[in-house]
Symmetry: C2
Subunit: 139 residues, 2 copies
DNA sequence: TTAACTGCAAACATTTTGCAACCGT
DNA sequence: ACGGTTGCAAAATGTTTGCAGTTAA
């Protein structure tokens, strides 16, 4: 049973065949797939799964904090299993590669910034768009 | 002449009647309007301006670094005149209000994080989603 | 003058939804 | 059995584009 499927049971989510497949596909993904890619991967297991089910399932998982949804600026949503330890993302704009990182000091500063202004932090998004260091500039 | 119109001239952008209106509307906006809102405001000056022109003009301005485009998670793009001093955003998820802030220490840490990994920072996005501090919790 | 711009409507891409059939508990 | 779930296709949403007519330089 996939990690995500376990989380679903904890949340009392009814696990249908399709949801199990989607849970497994995303649990096995080491990248940050979009709906199209999830559909491709799920289709290999169940060729008649529909994109509407992927959308509905990702929404369900997101509402239950089982997955995180990201918008990295390419127009569509991308997903990852909610990580046990929070991290942010570095996006290589040349290759599209996404690298995860963690920085406690920034986290602390964020909390402090909003609390100084009378707010509580409920969520945040930090994305660093980068290009590889090079001697020659590309493009 | 609006601040944005001046910037356009510097960039050698041909200033049509519609572009002048859109430039003025955005220069006068103190919030972060989306295309729909820009259209509403522009329509008060020229009732026959079209939404396609707003889209095309915002893209043109964005490509020339005259405006910044943001996606605050509500599905549509929102714009602001490219600020003379960089800042990030706090979004009050209850009211939708956007507050700008600046923190040099975080900026420095971001640069350091990517450079330690062999990259150059070309852009970044930092958004803090908050709720007002309260004694009672709402929702 | 003429290449670029505009308005309109159609096209697009992504996501959501209505509905009848289906399935898990 | 029955309420939730699925697949399909249609609709909704935000954005882009082809084209014929218009305009700024």
């Amino acid at each position: 049973m996939s990690k995500i499927e376990e989380r679903c049971l904890t949340m009392g989510i009814k696990m249908t065949g399709q949801r199990k497949i989607i849970a497994k596909v995303l649990s096995d993904s080491k990248d940050h797939p979009d709906v199209e890619l999830l559909l491709q991967r799920a289709t290999k297991i169940d060729p008649k799964i529909s994109i509407a089910t992927i959308y509905r399932t990702m929404r369900l998982f997101e509402e239950n904090n089982i997955v995180e949804r990201h918008e990295f600026g390419d127009g569509r949503s991308r997903y990852e299993e909610t990580p046990r330890f929070h991290h942010d993302h570095i996006i290589d704009v040349n290759s599209g590669k996404v690298i995860e990182f963690q920085n406690d000091e920034i986290e602390k500063l964020q909390k402090q910034i909003v609390e100084d202004r009378g707010y509580n932090l409920v969520d945040h998004k930090l994305e660093l768009y980068v290009k590889p260091k090079e001697n020659k500039k590309s493009t």
